[in-house]
Symmetry: C3
């Protein structure tokens, strides 16, 4: 592809030779002739100056550092993501219903749907336009999904779940299975029926083998733009705020509220009814026991401010030494007391 | 539904207007005219006195606090669970075998079975009465399952697994895949064949995408009434005692023994061969390294009594300060020693 | 089976009565007449001397301790594994393609393939000889797998994934779903297309419901002989070195490099870009924040040498006591200062 053509496609200002041939995007450290790379900010400047790529997507401030053609961008990483899509359009099976799919007579699929082999769609389900339902997906009755729904193989969506527009669910995820609620009764455990549902708003992505439990009553809420990685667990009656992101194996217990634009590292866990503000960053394996204020960075279990966490874990390995030093001081004081007659305390 | 009719269905004593119309159960804080709520004990008394619900399920001791009709119950929460089932009967597909299901000629299904699309049931498998096998389940050869088996979509049950009566397995769970056993041999790793099985007793519920490994020899045992949440891992040759409950993402390594009526919070993990008594409560993320006595509450890694855990984690963030104070004391003593000539130690 | 016949099958030296009938392998503590057991080293010597088994597989050094016939082995555990396979050959469905499987016309399967019900194999996929693809597996386009591929039910393999020879994937695993990469742009999150792939080399085993993310660019690499247990997550662009083993629920974030012959206990997690050497042993729940040298044993979060870890966690519960002792010392010094006039500091 000619660079000029790529610039036009991306609607970015081109500086340099528009006739250059671009054959592939590449990470900046692998930039070779014929590739296009990106530099997001000052810490990429040295790599940019050394690159052999034919073009770099850069902010105005780095334009002078590029030894090659440039595309000027307010957000080079986001525009590089668009380049990746131009060169590697995502796999999308053709529209049409595989004859082995079992779709209830009253289920409704919008125009342009692609439904794979072995898919089961039960009664009362309504899905919007341009859906891609990959093979061996099971959709229970009365599910509602919006437009541009992408549902990968092996996913299960339980009865009555509500899904917005432009939602992607990766393989093997389970949406709306019963929440974990039991009550002791006469020497046994009785299930609390989980009669609520799950509501997933627009622009959400859900990772492979992730599970989102349906609410006891009401709905488990996954707000607009939330991104969940693989093997995440969202307990019943949780609410995850807009654009929050959870890395793999994060687990929310029941009735947890997470604000907007949070980022949780892998394996973060929370107690029941934890309440987390907006823009909270939690490092991997953080254990959130109760409440977290907005705009904090946290770590440890129970969670503390990351600054505190970093300081105390640096001292942890010195605990045995600290104990020895306390003993030595005590001994010294005892000795001194002995030496001074011990009478003055 | 008239309240009188509901009281008769539940076989509970009604005090108040049996002609009242009940249209929905609700949490006590959302109780509105036409709803039925419950109050399990004294901590609900204030909410009960303020409720606008038409009926409350209460213990005798709270009957006087209700501003509405009451149903008198020895276990209000358990009876409320029954109300939920009356108003929201769980989804159950009709009996019958979907024509796309592939069932081996010699597999046996009891009366009333419902088998969904794309289900595969292999040779020698025997399932009791009233089974519901949802779409895209795979059952390997020679599985045995009792009556009232509910197996949700995407589940895999491996060869020879034995399942009791009234067992429910949520979507995507894997029962009886090979345990994790390898031995180094001539510069490579050789698999130890996992020739045992999994035995699941009556009244067990298994969460979505949970995995239970088959034993190396013998059986991995999940005892009567056990409840496992989503994404739990039970290693080979484990035994989980009656009515124990594990929240999401709990992991048992190999040959772990857990007693009865235990409750593990989310993300609890155990070492191989850990031995846990009865009625042990472990808070989320506890790391159990060895043995735990019955009737203890534990936390931390390695686990300690919760009381101890709570105290030491409260001090953790003060570690840097403690180290500074130790240094200050040492310095002071050094100074004093200097001041006093330093000769007396 | 006569013992002589078993010895010939295993090609091991027999000492004792070759006419003895062996009906079953057993753990050494369950050794009864008619069973064969193994003793791997000196710590099994007492159990060996007491066994009632008809035969024991032993190293030369233990031959004198056996009260029964022996098979002399350089690696008794590995040879016992072979005995297990002789007595319990693993389940393998017969060769042939189930009529309900949907295989793209241009997909290629080598000789001897067994393809189960509801399997979907998309265009351009090529699989070697003797493959077993169990029911309800979904293979996306252009996947390549070598000989002796065993793929259990419910697995999803995404477009373009490359798999070596003798690879086994347990039920529900997801290979090659999109890695977790988003960039903020104009008040929303834009997905970074994950245009790389996953490469799985020979002799790898992947556990049930485990997920391996495809690379952003390039490939996520799982090297020869790697063994992953259930519910493991491997992030995008990771590389796992030859013969490394991860127990259940281990999670690697993005771009992590793990060396050869490592062993990670359950629930170990790592930060992005962590770099772990060869032969590193990490105990369960270790949190790896950055770099780990080869040939170390580690624990804790952030990880430290296991020796250090063990020592400091032993002191942890004494933290409140240590704080009290520091306070007592300070008070004593204050008193002394008071007593001595307080003028000399």
């Amino acid at each position: 592809m000619k660079l000029k053509q790529l610039a036009d496609t991306l609607k970015l200002e081109l500086r340099g030779d528009g006739a250059a041939e671009i054959s592939m995007p590449a990470p900046i450290e692998a930039g070779a002739p014929g590739t296009i790379v990106f530099a997001a900010g000052p810490r990429y400047a040295a790599a940019l100056r050394a690159t052999k790529a034919s073009c770099a997507i850069v902010p105005e401030s780095l334009a002078g550092d590029a030894p090659c053609a440039t595309l000027i961008s307010a957000n080079p990483y986001a525009d590089f993501a668009r380049v990746l899509e131009v060169f590697f359009p995502p796999y999308r099976p053709p529209a049409g219903i595989d004859p082995s799919a079992r779709i209830a007579p009253d289920a409704k699929l919008g125009a342009g749907a692609s439904v794979g082999a072995g898919v089961s769609i039960a009664a009362g389900t309504v899905i919007g336009r341009n859906a891609v339902v990959h093979p061996n997906v099971t959709i229970y009755p009365n599910v509602r999904a919006g437009d541009d729904f992408v549902c990968h193989s092996g996913v299960s969506i339980r009865e009555g779940v509500v899904i917005g527009n432009r939602v992607t669910i990766l393989n093997g995820a389970v949406i709306g299975a019963e929440g974990f609620g039991f009550v002791e009764h006469q020497g046994a455990l009785v299930r609390i029926p989980q009669v609520g549902t799950v509501i997933i708003e627009d622009d959400v992505e859900i990772g492979a083998n992730t599970t989102i439990a349906r609410a006891t009553m009401g709905a488990t809420l996954v707000r607009r733009g939330v991104k969940l990685d693989n093997l995440v667990h969202i307990g019943h009656n949780c609410e995850v705020g807009e654009y929050s992101r959870f890395a793999a194996q994060v687990g929310l217990a029941g009735s947890v509220k997470v604000g907007r634009w949070c980022q949780f590292g892998g394996q973060v866990g929370t107690a029941d009814h934890a309440a987390i503000g907006d823009r909270v960053l939690a490092i991997g394996q953080t254990g959130i026991h109760n409440e977290v204020k907005s705009d904090t960075i946290i770590g440890g279990a129970p969670q503390v401010e990351f600054r505190k966490y970093r300081r105390y874990v640096a001292v942890l390995p010195r605990l045995p030494e600290m104990l020895r030093r306390i003993r030595a001081i005590e001994q010294q004081l005892e000795l001194r007391r002995d030496a001074s007659g011990g009478g003055n305390e």
